[in-house]
């Protein structure tokens, strides 16, 4: 929560109180604008193999000590350069570059909410899909309003205890869990990411509890990504997440009944592929952000005919 003195900015750094009026500094001024593979978000069940025009502005409402993008998420707007790109321009750039979707990502779309909202609305009119990559730290009402224009979201569930959120992210757990429930109930495609940080949230019982929560509240079909941590920002004293830890996490989540569990940020033989939860046959084979083969037939397993959760066209 922010009580912002005149001339000061809030936690997110991009909203400033000028004479009692809140100004958003970054509307129409992204600091990053690139085309990425959709697999990089990561979204594995949404238009695989397609490019997505991805934007971010500086700032974030969280301050994760491990932030991989801290150079922009923890930057002040006066310290970085931005590009002038209003919503109309973003939509036309997306069309020109033949991207099927627009991603609001890298930092957190919640802090450039108005920009995200207006762009998503315009993009929807132009038949462009909208994708959010977010920590999900938002109130219900604005979240529901925004979700009307969103097609898919990868939402972080950074840990399963309030203590982790307070100590590592300067946030709390409950609003994130609520945002996940609202997103899933809204009918958009939801994937969840949990970044595993050695010694902080890597214990098997923590992974099990998190997996159980996802299964019980979001459903076993919800894809869960366990991402490997790399030492960055204020957590350079910790080692990268060993592949073994990620593999154990994946096994635990599968044993708890989750159908699609992935490993990210490291190369993994099976952890990058999609398998049919019914007959276990390989459906989508990936290597990094590349699709090596996609055997899905109209969103169904070609071997047993089972419907696979996702947006495939």
């Amino acid at each position: 929560m922010c009580l912002i003195e005149p001339g000061q900015s809030g936690e997110c750094r991009v909203r400033i109180n000028i004479d009692g009026v809140l100004r958003t500094v970054v509307y129409g001024f992204p600091c990053s604008l690139n085309i990425d593979p959709i697999e990089k978000k990561p979204l594995f069940h949404f238009l695989p193999g397609t490019g997505v025009l991805s934007i971010a502005t500086v700032g974030c409402n969280l301050h994760c000590l491990n932030c991989q993008n801290w150079e922009i998420s923890q930057a002040n707007p006066e310290d970085s350069q931005a590009v002038f790109c209003p919503p109309e321009r973003l939509v036309s750039l997306c069309r020109e570059s033949r991207c099927l979707s627009l991603a609001y990502t890298y930092t957190d779309p919640i802090i450039y909410y108005e920009y995200t909202y207006d762009t998503a609305k315009l993009a929807r009119q132009a038949n462009i899909r909208n994708v959010l990559v977010t920590a999900g730290y938002i109130n219900k009402e604005p979240w529901e309003k925004l979700l009307k224009y969103v097609d898919a979201a990868n939402i972080d569930l950074k840990g399963i205890t309030d203590d982790f959120y307070v100590r590592i992210c300067s946030a709390t757990l409950k609003p994130v869990q609520d945002a996940l429930l609202v997103a899933k109930a809204s009918g958009i495609l939801v994937e969840v990411t949990n970044l595993i940080i050695p010694t902080l949230n890597d214990k098997p019982e923590q992974i099990r509890e998190l997996s159980r929560w996802v299964k019980a509240n979001l459903g076993g079909e919800t894809p869960l990504h366990f991402s490997g941590f790399t030492p960055k920002y204020k957590m350079q004293h910790l080692p990268p997440t060993p592949l073994k830890t990620l593999e154990i996490a994946r096994e635990i989540a599968i044993s708890e009944g989750l159908d699609y569990v992935y490993i990210g940020n490291v190369r993994s033989k099976e952890g990058e592929n999609t398998y049919c939860p019914g007959c276990k046959s390989l459906l989508i084979e990936r290597k990094g952000y590349f699709i090596l083969q996609n055997r899905l037939k109209d969103g169904h397993c070609p071997d047993c005919g089972r419907e696979i959760y996702g947006v495939w066209k």
Binding site: S32, E78, A82, V83, Y117, D118, K121, E141
Partner: protein
């Protein structure tokens, strides 16, 4: 650019600002704090209309090659 200079430019730019049609997000407010601590307080969420600036007070750069994959995570 220093924050002081940035705010100064922002105040000038803000005088020409106009309202964004979208609805501003709202972080958990003081009211939610109270609701955690008292039985009777009602947790309220309220929308804040953010004002968009016509002129960016920071430094701008031209659009670079967007086809190059970003170095950022996510």
């Amino acid at each position: 650019m220093t924050r002081r200079k940035f705010i100064h430019k922002l105040i000038k730019a803000g005088s020409h600002s106009y309202c964004v049609l979208g609805i501003a997000y709202c972080v958990y407010g003081i009211a939610s704090l109270f609701s955690r601590n008292t039985h009777h307080a009602r947790r309220t969420t309220k929308f804040v209309r953010a004002l968009r600036l016509k002129k960016y007070p920071g430094s701008l750069r031209p659009l670079r090659d967007i086809h190059k994959q970003s170095k950022w995570s996510g």
